[in-house]
Each structure stands twice: as structure tokens, then as C-alpha cells.
Amino acid sequence: MSSKKYIKGFLEDIVLHLIGQEGEMYGYDLTKRVEELSNGAIKITEGALYPILHKLENEEKLTATFKEANGRLRKYYTLTPIGGKKVETSAIDLLDFLGGLQQLFNLQPASK
């Protein structure tokens, strides 16, 4: 499945949600986790990820710190209280939106 055309509007929320869940993450880690958790359906490119991370850091939704890892420095991101609030509101918005889509396309949950 090509997720590119759908992912753009959700990227910020995905990044904030994952960092909120994991506590602390770095760029490469985020790309891998998204791919793993979505069973390969969602892929985030580096060109899309880093500008979003820096934007969220500027908006004080994320805070970053450099730490040593494997003999080199690594930039870790954590959620700020502002970012935490955004995660809460975006979860509600997302549910509403998905419900709307489900109605619009008359989608049925996949039967097991």
C-alpha cells in the first residue's frame, strides 16, 4: 500500500504519539518503529521526518537532548507538556475523522 498521499497530514500526530508512548526516541528509531507498528504499511522518509521533528521542537511540543550512544552523539526527543496536550486532542480529532471516513466510504471492520 502506498501511504505517501495519506501520511502527510498525520505525520506530526504519529511522531508525537510514538514519542509519548516510548518516552524518548531518536530519528532512526522513529522511522523503524513506525514501519514495525504498521507492519510496513507506513514508511516515513528522512526528508519528511527531520523537518517535522525540528518544527515540533521549535513549537516546544518536543524537547531534545544529545546523549552518547555507540561512540557517537545522538539526539533524543521527549514530549513536553504542550506536546502531551496535543497528543490528547489529536487522538480525539483522529477518532472523529476516522469515524467520518468510515461512514463516508461505508467501510466495515475486517472480519476475523
Partner: protein, 231 residues
């Protein structure tokens, strides 16, 4: 026993120099991208254990698309500017405390009275504002160069923002005072409140810009300390 191949110091140095050549000039962004590339290469080595470093590197670099780091570097510039102006805005917001507002209002009133009642005071205050701005340029250059001496001539995002921010601020001030059309210019400069506000704005901006360069210095010192620990 784990036999995973890891990126060594020489390879890390190569990645740093490659990123620098590709316009990733700010050390904070470069550290992040070098780490990402190193992780990608190590993941590739897990699947192709016999591949040499350069082949693995060129293979993973392809994943950044035909524009390579260009998109990241460009968007980083935009983020850098936003961060800078946010810093300036926070300085001005922080200025809104009763003692500082009172002091600023007093200086404004004094300048206003001076300009409206003393002949030639207007020009003197405008020249003083110009001198403060020139001082601000020298202060920025000096602090910028001094910051570059901290970490082998490296610069960080906030330093880049300060340099560009000062240029834009100077340009806007220039437009307001000298390029707003002869009638408008004469009108603006003749207004005592404008002269007083102009002087105060330039002084506050100089302080805000210098403060951000000092913050950039702190960030670089912290990075230097961490780089020393990581070897």
C-alpha cells in the same frame, strides 16, 4: 557473541565531512544526520556483512531520494529562522514585567520630551540609534567568531539564525527610515514618538540578539562537553 559490524571513528569522520560538503553546515543537525546514516549503514551491514563502508554508504544515501539532504537542509534553514524569531519574541515578552515596562516608558517619555522640545535633538537621537545598531553588528560578529572558537570553527543553528536575523532587522529598519518615500520618511522622522520608539526598539533588539548568541554559546559548550565524553 555479537559479531555486528559497527561504525568506527574514521567512518564517522567521513560521514561528518560528507554531510558538511552537502551543505549541512550546522553541527546540531549534522550530528543527527550522521547518527541516522550510521544506523542505516549498520542495518545494511546486518544483511550484507561483506559490503565495504563506502558501498554501503552510497546505497543507504540513495534512500534520501534524488535531492539527498537538500530538502532537509532547506527546511532546517526555515526552522532555524523560526527558532530565532521565537527567541526574539520571547525576549520581548519577557520584557513585559512591571519594572522593565516602567523603565522603558520613562526612557520613552524622556526621549519624547527631548525630541519635541530641543532643536536638533531628533537628529541626535536618530544618529545614536544608528550607532547602537552599528555596535550591534560588531557585537554580533565578535560573539559569532568567539562562538566559532569553541568547537573547531563549528556553528550551530542559533548562531546562523542570529546572523540572518540581524540582517533582516537592519533591512526592515532601513526600509522604515530611508526607503519609505520622501514624504513618508520626512513625516516619520519628524515625529517625536517615532524617534523615541525607534531608538528603544533598536536597543532592545541589540540586547535580544546578543542574548541569543550567548545562548548559542551555552549550547555549543554543552555539545563540546558531550563530544569529549563520547570521544
Amino acid at each position: 557473541m555479537s559479531t555486528e559490524r559497527k561504525i568506527g571513528p574514521k567512518e564517522l569522520a567521513y560521514l561528518h565531512s560528507y554531510c558538511k560538503k552537502k551543505d549541512i553546515v550546522y553541527i546540531d543537525l549534522r550530528i543527527e544526520l550522521v547518527d541516522h546514516l550510521a544506523e542505516l549503514i549498520q542495518a545494511r551491514w546486518a544483511e550484507h556483512p561483506n559490503e565495504d563502508f563506502k558501498t554501503a554508504f552510497h546505497n543507504v544515501y540513495k534512500s534520501f531520494g534524488i535531492f539527498g539532504f537538500l530538502t532537509i537542509a532547506e527546511q532546517h534553514q526555515a526552522a532555524m529562522q523560526k527558532r530565532y524569531w521565537r527567541g526574539i519574541w520571547q525576549f520581548f515578552k519577557g520584557w513585559l514585567t512591571p519594572p522593565k515596562v516602567l523603565a522603558t516608558a520613562s526612557i520613552f517619555s524622556l526621549l519624547y520630551l527631548l525630541v519635541s522640545r530641543v532643536d536638533g535633538a531628533n537628529n541626535a537621537v536618530m544618529i545614536a540609534a544608528g550607532l547602537v545598531f552599528i555596535t550591534s553588528i560588531f557585537l554580533t560578529i565578535w560573539q559569532y567568531q568567539s562562538n566559532k572558537n569553541i568547537l573547531h570553527r563549528e556553528k550551530n543553528m542559533l548562531m546562523g539564525g542570529s546572523k540572518q536575523g540581524l540582517f533582516w532587522f537592519g533591512y526592515i529598519m532601513w526600509l522604515i527610515t530611508f526607503n519609505s518615500g520622501p514624504t513618508a520618511r520626512e513625516h516619520m522622522i519628524e515625529l517625536p514618538w517615532f524617534t523615541a520608539a525607534f531608538f528603544i526598539t533598536i536597543c532592545l533588539f541589540t540586547a535580544a540578539n546578543y542574548g541569543l548568541l550567548k545562548k548559542a554559546k551555552k549550547e555549543l559548550l554543552l555539545l563540546k562537553e558531550k563530544l569529549a565524553v563520547s570521544g
